[in-house]
Homo-oligomer: 399 residues x 2
């Protein structure tokens, strides 16, 4: 008995039809008309396009209400309203981080996502319960999807005493990345928060991913402080800024100068392609060589009702937000939702080529751009060479 697999008649990255031999969790051969291998299961590809596993590079697995029945949205318009409403409803509604992260992660698996970076709340009320719950999910689903946990001080780091110790404990308890959040807007102490975040990263030898919603010059100010510390701590290539709305500021020269500095410090950007806010532009970042990854952000949670964990649909939203129309540009939007995330998460062997890890999906479409704009159900999803989803659904039942 082996998990090796021979995929017949697939189109790698939308190219010519070929067979694909999967051995020991990797793509061993890609060629037309491969000979049958005794003992190796064959799977008909039906001419479907093979794409590398999608990467959900910014979400909140601990927050989703998926499967809990419809709940009318309650939060007010400000960021603070949403944070406070969430703190209240977390108590009232029993939003169990383990159960809910399992549900959302399996939804992702069904859509062909093979790796997830999730921010997980750490605060003085929830303590490490979120981290522990998602860490259990990470272990349970290790064969289905790679989960990276960002310890995320959602309610503030400096402004909520005790949180810094909890962040330290979260990193000792298995969080993979140090999170941060609007050092001016939430903590009103940019020096304090950013020094603390970089110190935690240094102590634990972990990368950083900071939510930066701050708009315009305020966001630019915080961003410059992050760039400065990235250089000073030798953290090039290990820092991500999520949202980075300030890069959508009207002063395009100022934004492009910031992008040039990000490129020089090898800082990555994570986007949701938020249609209602100024956002970092795909073309600016690509031209400067900044890696852009993408995510769903919260999925049907107390922050809002939207989201379905489909990163092919996210690539469409990224394309629409950036007015990308040419096939090569839409393909780049898809790369942000796959290879970009893999680079940010440091995933080895991501791609569709001999030697790559067999983290991949099959989707029936005429071209890669067609797959993005139509995002039909994934025919098959492999993770480490094993079939983990068929026809849009994870083979593992959600709780």
């Amino acid at each position: 008995m082996t998990d090796d697999l021979l995929l017949r008649q697939v189109r790698p990255l939308g190219g010519p039809t070929a067979d694909m031999l999967i051995r020991d969790g990797r793509i061993a051969r890609i060629a037309p008309d491969l000979p049958a291998v005794p003992g190796v299961t064959e799977e008909p590809g039906g001419g479907a396009i093979a794409l590398p596993g999608l990467v959900e590079a910014h979400t909140h697995l601990d927050k989703s209400l998926w499967g809990m029945g419809w709940r009318a949205h309650q939060a007010g318009p400000t960021l603070r309203d949403k944070i406070d409403t969430e703190r209240r409803l977390r108590r009232e509604w029993d939003i169990d981080p383990h159960r809910q992260s399992t549900r959302q992660a399996l939804l992702s698996v069904g859509h062909g996502t093979t790796a997830i970076r999730s921010h997980v709340d750490v605060d003085t009320e929830v303590g490490l319960a979120g981290i522990e719950g998602v860490a259990r999910t990470r272990a349970d689903l290790a064969n289905l999807v790679a989960i990276e946990i960002v310890a995320f001080p959602q309610s503030g780091l400096m402004s909520r005493p005790g949180t810094l110790d909890l962040m330290d404990a979260a990193l000792r308890a298995g969080a993979d990345v140090v999170g941060g959040l609007d050092p001016c807007g939430i903590d009103a102490d940019p020096k304090g928060q950013l020094d603390a975040v970089f110190a935690l990263a240094e102590t634990h030898g972990k990368p950083i991913d900071i939510h930066l919603h701050e708009p315009g010059e305020l966001g630019a100010f915080s961003m410059e402080m992050i760039i400065e510390r990235t250089r000073a701590h030798g953290m090039q290539g290990r820092v991500t800024i999520s949202h980075a709305f300030c890069l959508g500021m009207p002063d395009r020269d100022r934004a492009r100068a910031l992008v040039a500095d990000l490129a020089e410090a090898r800082i990555h950007i994570a986007t949701v392609a938020t249609p209602s806010r100024p956002v970092p532009l795909v073309e600016d970042l690509r031209a400067a060589g900044v890696t852009l990854c993408a995510g769903s952000d919260g999925i049907r949670d107390t922050w809002g009702p939207y989201g379905n964990a489909d990163m092919l649909e996210r690539a469409m939203l990224l394309g629409l937000r950036n007015n990308l129309r040419a096939d090569r540009d839409v393909e780049h939007a898809l790369w942000c939702c796959s290879g970009g995330g893999a680079r940010v998460m440091g995933l080895e062997g991501h791609g569709i080529a001999e030697g790559c890890r067999a983290d991949l999906l099959l989707v029936e479409a005429e071209s890669v751009t067609h797959a993005v704009v139509a995002h039909p159900p994934r025919r098959l999803v492999l993770r480490g060479g094993r079939v983990v989803a068929r026809d849009g659904h994870s083979l593992r039942e959600a709780p």
Copy 2:
């Protein structure tokens, strides 16, 4: 034999479960546990939500490449590039207006759209071929979907001599609405184009729908000229401005003053909720009492690869673009994609209530907002009381 129908166990507008008796193409009764009617077919609703037919209030049925095999996007970035590329590819690719409009309209029917306003090109090259092709579709599909044809001078009205006569001929040949397009940006003759458009409307007794992509103060200038003529010609309630990107200008006071004038002149706005452009804001328009309708714009055509004719998904995009999160706000976004379009098209009896036309759809969702964010396949679609689609697909086969 009768087309009357008894829908069992549906939830009108997401409310309590009831039965719905359809007689002579109208909703005759809505009440729990209606008695069976001899000779009347019963249809199980399974607790699905019943919504009024969706209205695609801005599209281009003559342009879609749907079903023609994937074609890589060729147009350059400017509006002029897209117009010129389309003129060229229309010749090279045999984009038959009758066949393509039939395909797109049936796609709409499958998604629960019961009325479509389509702009159709009129220019010195295509002549009336587009109008005639879509008019055939309008007649062929009259029992499936109401189609309204806007004679649309895509390549310019004043700047392309001969077009004005063709517009006149198009209106005599059965076009329902007089179209226009960027009177400054395309024709560089706002007085000329707008006087001509309003004169055509007066001569033929037809309403008006003008594409206005012009941004900022340029668009505001053209909009003021449209408002002035709407008043002068007594056209209140019969003029629509499509896109109206200028209402998304940064100067919110200026935009709101324009919105107040639109309200006073009872001018409607049609939006696509374009994520990459400034757009009219749902809340501004609602507060002022301006009717907002919505559409898909072009669907997979030489202008771009996106679109699928699903107006529930469009409601989601409208919600995302406007940062609508509360259920009542998302429900309003859906109303724009349904009741708003019905009002703009002057459709009598649109709605879910006794006496309304039985133009409606059933969708399995927990709430109306859930139906918008998840937009699952439509279980059943009725048009004038007849079943026209099941499980996401029109019962009429596409050519």
